[in-house]
Symmetry: C2
DNA sequence: GATTTAATTCAATTAAGTTGAATATTCAAG
DNA sequence: CTTGAATATTCAACTTAATTGAATTAAATC
């Protein structure tokens, strides 16, 4: 287990400048859809000549496509450039104690392939070859002339290795304690690898292809085994000092409340999570082990499930108020491994606190919206992270 | 009132590259104290030649000073460079409904001058000339050959103009509703101006000259009129979508608890804040309107104050647990307009949640530490913000 | 049809980096 | 005490990727 490296602030040179500018251009193309060179030059504050060079380079690498000239009033109509969906792909993998979920997405973050593979053990010796095989299969699924692979995003139940032990006892994978997953996966897969937690990955997926494409600041509440939180603030991922930020499940919403597995009382997770729903329904003699069960119960208007929803909404509303006051997001998004209809019902039932910094006269979005959900969310998010990295420079933003 | 501008992601060029690299160099000099050219080149990933050029430029502007050559084993001993304390100054101003606090700091963030000025009204027509006069006096206090003024940081009770109305009813200044304070102050003072909230400014002061000089991620709990929060995460200031992040005072710690002025129940501010202490003591027939009163009561071992501290510690401990789980900071710092001894007592009384992500085997710092406090904290922090901006590039960090 | 406007390219220039060789100063080994 | 290795720094030449200003093309307006 190694301590997190202190972040190093490095200088820039011509090469890094170009890399930065490429990302800036790709980012603008992503958010605007299509743009001409001159307009890109204006947006980025670069000269048209510089833009021409960058565009030529990106087009040469097939990351962007030249479209029709588009007439907009006087003057030579601008050639419209768009991202090339087939310009590159990214892998996403979620490693769980008993399964590996593998996804492949295109340069826009759209899903090309998904697969679930059962594993007998979560030890590195088992996981690494299985992930390698799954990724190879994913890549071969798109045929011979495959575009470049930008990298692989890996989601693992943290906290592990790099980030050290923590108190909020989580389901850790066995055999990874003293390992550096990033290095191991990079070694096996031979592409750049990023390891993130599920909630953050899901948040990035939401921003890449979901309901947050227009947002720069939002909180993504992720229903997984527990309850996670991915925070994007002004376009930046919030990780915290040790990569463990966003432990929403163990935020206390009721002093002296229900006993949680972490040893505390009143954790949000004990009220509002898949686990909490399962336990509640089990006491009523109903089984709801997976999303399908919950979906079915909801479709059948099961009164016990309805009761749980009502009961779960209050603590969640309180927690959302806390998120609003602390992070001042444009919206709070609920998603993850929960049936979408259930999330909708939960949102309907929310009685939000009516005086937080998010209660604004100029709101356009609802304070809480439903995001992407389903079992693949995290794996797709992991892949989206890689796409995200090629769009987002870690640089110069100006208000 | 204007809506917050969407953040613009801009390209880079040679000029911006140099600006970035200068900041990188200054930042390293700040955190290391003194360094030679070659070592700076290694730290920044730049060539020694480039470093020589940058150093020459900075030395020419008297922002850094060449020291003795320092022998460290074999080879030519490196000339050690340090920041020049007298290389530049920055102004800091806190505007309150009835007073203006003005501060001047040197290039290291050390205090050179402070002054409090009473004002009759908080309208722009009164405040702007008063601030101008105060700043002029501050600058003339350091004599004729004054070093360049990097800018002025302004702290005002938000949320105002730029960030729009919010629900958590705060003490707003009258007459500023539809104004752009940054532009107004820049116009009057003729130096670059930054407007921030008190808690963020105080957090930056803590990082510049206080107990967080080594920290990249921390939460600063600011005792002002209410209770604010400044968050620095991996060196970046967390502002939120509308600049209102960190509204800690209105985080609910007790469902259905005490009625707060914001209309909700159970806000942290109603338990743990200067106002809460005043009210508590008033009920016991004691007056504690300012820091001095509290200080005196504490010195006299006043049993009522002790009782309040015990009562206030629990909600605070819970909130700190929430901060730890959400932000994963290296430490939580308590400071602001509270007597330091009282903060110490409060910290002693804290019964922290024993399972958050901050409970780590490899901790070196306590989870909660006391930070800078006193009436000038925010104004000094405002000035520190300006210094901070000249050290911290908004760019390329590498883990 | 002539003129204006806007996008784009061409050619020259410039800023700020990199690279490799030369020089200075110190430590360590013979 | 001399010599060689290590380290810091500078000098000079080169490279990258930007900028600037003039030229070219195509559409809109007069």
């Amino acid at each position: 287990m190694h301590r997190k490296a202190p972040l190093k602030i490095i200088g820039s040179n011509a090469e890094r400048t170009r890399l930065h500018n490429r990302k800036v251009v790709l980012g603008h193309l992503r958010s605007h859809g299509k743009l001409g060179r001159a307009e890109l030059a204006r947006l980025t504050g670069l000269s048209t000549q510089a833009m021409s060079n960058i565009i030529a380079e990106l087009e040469g690498e097939a990351l962007i496509l030249a479209g029709e000239r588009q007439t907009k009033g006087r003057g030579l109509p601008a050639v419209q450039y768009t991202l090339n969906p087939a310009g590159a792909v990214a892998l996403g993998v979620e490693v769980r104690p008993n399964a590996i979920l593998c996804a492949l997405v295109n340069f826009l973050g759209d899903t090309l392939y998904t697969k679930r593979i059962h594993i007998k053990s979560s030890e590195p010796a088992v996981v690494l070859p299985a992930v390698k095989a799954a990724c190879d299969e994913a890549l071969s699924s798109i045929g011979k002339n495959a575009p470049p692979v930008l990298g692989a995003g890996i989601v693992m139940p943290g906290p592990f290795g790099r980030v050290g032990l923590t108190g909020a006892g989580k389901a850790e994978l066995v055999g990874w304690d003293d390992k550096d997953p990033q290095a191991l996966f990079e070694d096996v897969l031979q592409v750049p690898v990023r390891v993130e937690n599920d909630a953050t990955a899901a948040a990035i997926a939401e921003q890449t292809t979901g309901s947050a494409t227009e947002l720069q600041s939002f909180c993504f509440v992720y229903f997984g085994t527990g309850l996670g939180l991915g925070v994007i603030s002004n376009g930046e991922i919030l990780r915290g000092a040790f990569g463990n930020a966003g432990e929403l499940g163990h935020v206390v919403v009721e002093r002296g409340g229900r006993l949680c597995s972490c040893g505390n009382r009143g954790c949000l997770e004990t009220y509002t999570s898949r686990m909490a729903a399962s336990e509640f329904l089990q006491k009523r003699g109903k089984s709801a082990e997976n999303q399908k069960d919950l979906s079915d119960l909801l479709a059948a208007n099961d009164p016990d499930l309805e009761e749980w929803i009502s009961e779960a909404a209050d603590p969640l509303a309180q927690a959302i108020g806390t998120l609003e006051n602390l992070f001042d997001p444009e919206a709070v998004i609920l998603g993850g491994a929960m049936p979408p209809e259930l999330l909708e019902r939960l949102i309907e039932k929310l009685d939000l606190i009516d005086a937080t910094v998010s209660v604004r006269a100029d709101r356009t979005l609802p304070r809480v919206v439903r995001g992407a959900s389903g079992w693949m969310t995290a794996a797709l998010g992991a892949a989206a992270l890689i796409i995200h990295d090629t769009y987002i420079p870690s640089i110069s933003k100006v208000a």
